[in-house]
């Protein structure tokens, strides 16, 4: 602030009106520019300020700045946790980008790649999300009332909510781009993926390392795909789609997913949202 000498001073009435916001815009601008250069009027302005009202105004401002975010806490924690972000990115890459590139480069064979990889996306996501080192604040979370199934379910749903729409969207996009992609292909992998992820989730929140369970589940899936290749002696897309979308694979997947989720819920009292060692 300048302290240049001025020849006039604002009167108390005008300063009071200015403080109360009752002056015209022109007068307010004039007073403001005068206050910049007149230390005496600035000092007088200070004496006219209602201290209580000023403090209340500051409190209101601080309240507005400090108000807790409205964003759901689970979203906030996921965004803040690098491994949760990593898990979602891996899932999206596996079900989105890789098959998209493969389909573009190799056509039908690329879409077979999708069927092989897509169910592994939720497995990878769950395995990454529930590693012991996933959540830096995990130890504190374990001692909170929401630790347990609620946190497990919420985080699993969050990763699924990110990956699933992207995967289906990519598939439908590929359908338009390349053509001749059976729409059911876009959904055929969902149940196997759910079953594998539910198994990892069930095992991973107990005493087993989710990474090992994920590897075992993925190996099982690879064996199934291998069996189809051997049985059909081909890697044709329609054969794969028929096999994976067929009642046998879908039925088993549904049963496994339902059983894993049921067991998790039944033993919810023993479920920690991550392993404790």
């Amino acid at each position: 602030m300048s302290t240049h000498h001025t020849t006039w001073h604002a009167d108390d009435g005008d300063l009071g009106d200015y403080l109360a916001g009752r002056t015209t815009t022109v007068l307010a601008a004039s007073i403001e520019s005068h206050l910049v250069s007149c230390a005496a009027c600035r000092a007088r302005l200070g004496t006219l300020t209602d201290v209580v009202e000023r403090d209340q105004a500051w409190d209101r401002l601080a309240d507005a700045i400090d108000r807790p975010s409205r964003a759901p806490w689970i979203v906030r924690s996921a965004i803040a946790t690098p491994v949760m972000v990593q898990a979602a990115v891996v899932a999206v890459l596996l079900v989105g980008l890789v098959p998209l590139l493969a389909a573009t480069a190799w056509g039908d064979r690329g879409l077979v790649t999708l069927l092989v990889l897509a169910p592994l996306a939720p497995v990878a996501a769950v395995a990454l999300a529930y590693r012991d080192t996933s959540d830096p604040s995990g130890e504190m979370g374990l001692a909170a009332p929401v630790a347990g199934l609620r946190l497990v379910a919420l985080r699993a749903l969050l990763v699924a909510a990110v990956a699933l729409p992207i995967a289906v969207g990519v598939l439908l996009g590929v359908d338009r781009w390349i053509g001749d992609v059976p729409v059911r292909l876009a959904f055929a992998w969902c149940l196997p993926g759910l079953a594998l992820a539910a198994l990892v989730l069930l095992a991973g929140t107990t005493r087993l390392d989710p990474t090992y369970v994920a590897v075992a589940a993925s190996t099982g899936w690879a064996f199934l795909i291998g069996a189809i290749v051997v049985a059909e002696r081909s890697v044709r897309l329609d054969l794969f789609t028929d096999a994976v979308a067929g009642p046998a694979v879908q039925g088993v997947a549904l049963a496994v997913a339902a059983a894993a989720v049921t067991i998790t819920v039944v033993r919810r009292d023993a479920v920690a949202y991550r392993r404790t060692t």
Binding site: S69, D135, E139, M140
Partner: protein
Amino acid sequence: MIEATDLTKTFGRTRAVDEVTLSTGPGVIGLLGPNGAGKTTLLRMAATVLAPDSGELRLLGLDPTRAPERVEIRRRLGYLPQSPGLYPGFTPYDMVDYVAVLKEHTDRAWRQQEARRVLEAVELSDVMHKKIRSLSGGMKQRVALACAMVGDPDLLVLDEPANGLDPDQRLRLRSLLSTSATVLMSTHNISEVSALCQRVYVMFDGRITFTGSPADLAGLAVGRVWEDERQDPDAIRSWLTSTGTYRHLGHPPNGAQVVDPTLDDGYLLLARKEHT
């Protein structure tokens, strides 16, 4: 507040906590012992993070092995882990707010007041909107402490709470804890125990080997400490003090200048007994 009977926890072949029995009321209770003594495992059980393999544990009069009671304990519990990882992208304010939500506080206005209260208590109001990644180690420790204090819990379980704090902040911690209901804290720092704790438990190899007041612990070494200008090869331990004289622990020889024992003397004597 905390009642443990024959509490045992084993990892592989290691008995981290070995038939520990303790009973505490309100106040600050210190858990003293060397690295690997089982302090952290015991605290994790008291924080409901780990379930004991055997024995009985009651926290705030409730049984943590029963799910509904465990949730009730967690509502009334504050926990500072040994490595309280924080989200580096959060601000202290966000972090405290997040922990408040984990503790089921859904009222935003309440959370706002509470976040301000606990951050003020640990003197972090000035940096409450800075990213945690930009804070010093001591500040991060205080953020974690603020998180543990959310909701003014009936039971505070603190694993090395003074880690990373400078002497000034340690003093502040003392006054903070003195107003809390029940605090179970582990520490390496014997001076913390004497300044803070009404009762102290000493652990070696998973077992509680001493229970009593800090004065009782110092009392173990009454008549066993003497000072001399030379080292004494017959002493259990001898060390040079800041005054230039040697302080000895053991059986004083005839004519030795026996001095009043400190808490360190009592602890060192106990440690020696445990390892002979």
